[in-house]
């Protein structure tokens, strides 16, 4: 993606509300860690303009198909568009920010 376009998108995204979904399967160490990491990143970078919905696939397995979930945990950014997916325990803050379009890839 041309750098100019990406920067413009980041600027536009900065003003929007983030609708985030975190898919997990039960209270595993990875899912607990992922949720903690996500909350911290959102508080730091998206204060007051984010919503997090946690979906436990153990309880709602039928929801895995719709968002094409394979890996867990998976964070899905539903808004702003386009849809983005970040998989893993979200321990690498830098890559989460890049994935959420909150920072330009170094």
């Amino acid at each position: 993606m041309p750098e100019f376009e990406r920067v413009t998108r980041i600027a536009a995204a900065a003003a929007q509300t983030y609708e985030l979904r975190l898919y997990v399967a039960g209270q595993t160490p990875k899912s607990v860690l992922a949720l903690a990491n996500l909350r911290q990143i959102c508080e730091e970078h998206l204060q007051g303009r984010y919503e997090i919905e946690v979906i436990d696939l153990v309880e709602n397995p039928q929801l895995a198909q719709g968002d094409q979930i394979l890996a867990l945990p998976t964070l899905v950014r539903r808004l702003p568009e386009p849809i983005k997916k970040i998989i893993g325990d979200l321990s690498n803050t830098e890559r989460v920010l890049v994935g959420l379009d909150l920072r330009v890839r170094a």
């Binding site: 696939l57 094409q68 890996a71 867990l72 998989i87 893993g88 979200l90 890049v98 994935g99």
Partner: protein
């Protein structure tokens, strides 16, 4: 200690495959089906699944990673598999898995539990006993962490065992490996290899059971066929040579010829070779045989590799044998094909399928020698052995016409003559400016038969063998002698 019992097996319903593996795939275990592009892996897997749902009351799950899933559904629809209908009837659950590497960022530890959740949900939804993963290796293109993928796949295959489902996992053939990602390392219960070769513009499909833990299986390569009826494997049947040897006799359709076989004709279920040069009357003899069988109300198949059915019907009418009413009555069926259209295996697999479907008691192949142009001599012998075996097992009396290039030359049929129970040689000779036809029974196992060379004529009332004495007296004796024929036959 008691002899080790074979593991339980699950029928695939794929014609021939269940015979080759003595009962199908290992129940409750994963089987790897691998092969190159277009080798029929997906079709094999889907047939296993659809047959399970329709024939064996075993619902199934299809987890497909293929990008063009809709295309796949329409491909199998042409074989009569209606996937949407099976889904609606809760006999099948389909989950299309898509992984877009471009929209995925990877950060930190993850596992593929989402895949497990989806699979478990689908299995529960229909109460599945069979699962197909097609082609799970696509995940390697979608996710970056090979280490995680490998350990998760290992976990997935053992999880499938825990679920007690019989699974087929397809894999694309790789360089020096059975599959690109070496899946054979994880799936050790059974491995099936499919192969699609094109040689001399003739395509040949083969199937091999590479591995089947705890089971006997044939290690041969088996030809298999994909046609309008789906997939079928051609097993080497009756290796033990345990055919029945019925004592019942069937008429050749020519009374005088029956007379040469002790007055009763051929043995039912035997194989008769009729060889001779062009125009010696092979097809006429076959037509009489077909006509006689149809008159007895028996079903007859006739494979033509030279003439069209219309040509044959017209020519036979000229000697007073009208086969058309039998075709109309559904007793006689023709299958005409050009030998060069497929490989030998495909021809014979097709023939086997037609025989299985039509269940004839009499089958004619005219001329079988035209098939021999399609393969090497060893291949021809192996394949003809298979079809003859199959016909014998089904107790079908078969007549094979063999076109020999020269007057007496029989070398082209040498490699199959040992498979024949009865061998009739036809010949032409100019004697005193007249065209004379001769017929000689070279061998006929298990019965007393004439050793004389007999003259015959083709009249508008059919083929008539003349009396050995040369009666009617006006005819002079035939000059050519049986010894010459035998000499040339190399027996």
């Amino acid at each position: 200690m008691a002899a080790r019992r074979e593991l339980p097996k699950t029928l695939t319903g794929i014609r021939g495959f269940d015979e080759v593996t003595r009962g199908g795939l290992p129940t409750g275990r994963p089987t790897l089906v691998c092969g190159g592009p277009g080798s029929g892996k997906t079709l094999f897997a889907l047939t296993f699944l659809v047959n399970g749902a329709l024939q064996f009351e075993e619902p199934g799950v299809l987890l497909t990673f293929e990008e063009n899933a809709e295309e796949m559904a329409s491909d199998v629809a042409s074989l009569g598999f209606d996937l949407p209908e099976l889904v609606a009837a809760k006999k099948l659950a389909v989950d299309y898995v898509r992984v877009e590497r471009a929209e995925i960022e990877e950060t930190g530890e993850y596992d593929l539990e989402g895949l497990f959740v989806r699979l478990a949900y689908a299995i529960r939804t229909v109460g599945a006993k069979r699962v197909v993963l097609d082609t799970i290796e696509s995940l390697f293109a979608g996710l970056k962490n090979d280490g995680i993928l490998r350990s998760e796949l290992r976990r997935l295959f053992s999880w499938l065992k825990d679920q007690g489902v019989t699974a087929v996992i397809t894999g694309e053939r790789g360089e020096g490996l059975l599959t690109r990602q070496g899946l054979e390392e994880y799936i050790s219960d059974a491995v099936i290899l499919l192969d699609h070769r094109v040689h001399d513009q003739v395509s040949t499909r083969r199937l091999r059971v590479v591995k089947y833990r705890g089971s006997h299986h044939g290690t041969n390569e088996y030809p298999f066929l994909i046609d309008a009826e789906g997939i079928s494997v051609l097993p080497v049947s009756s290796l033990a040579l345990q055919h029945h040897a019925p004592l019942e006799r069937v008429s050749s359709g020519v009374p005088q010829l029956d007379g040469m076989f002790g007055g009763k004709g051929y043995y039912r279920g035997s194989t008769i070779l009729v060889s001779g040069a062009a125009g010696t009357g092979k097809t006429s003899l076959a037509a009489h045989f077909l006509d006689a069988a149809c008159r007895r109300g028996e079903r007859c198949l006739c494979f033509l590799f030279e003439e069209s059915p219309q040509q044959l019907l017209r020519n036979m009418r000229s000697i007073g044998v009208d086969l058309e009413p039998w075709v109309t009555a559904g007793l006689l069926q023709f299958h005409a094909d050009r030998p060069s259209r497929y490989g030998l295996e495909t021809h014979l697999a097709t023939m086997q399928n037609v025989v299985t479907a039509f269940r004839p008691t009499v089958t004619v192949i005219d001329p079988v020698t035209n098939l021999m142009t399609v393969g090497t001599s060893a291949d021809v012998q192996a394949m003809l052995t298979r079809i003859i075996d199959h016909l014998k097992t089904e107790n079908v009396t078969a007549m094979l016409a063999s076109l020999t290039p020269g007057e007496y030359a029989v070398e082209r049929t040498e490699n199959i003559s040992s498979l024949m129970d009865t061998w009739i040689i036809l010949a032409n000779e100019e004697v005193g400016g007249r065209h004379r036809r001769g017929l000689y029974v070279l061998k006929s196992r298990g019965m007393a038969h004439s050793n004389e060379l007999r003259e015959f004529v083709l009249t508008d009332a059919g083929l008539q063998v003349l009396d050995a004495s040369g009666d009617p007296p006006a005819r002079s004796r035939l000059e050519f002698v049986p010894e010459r024929l035998v000499e040339h036959a190399g027996v």
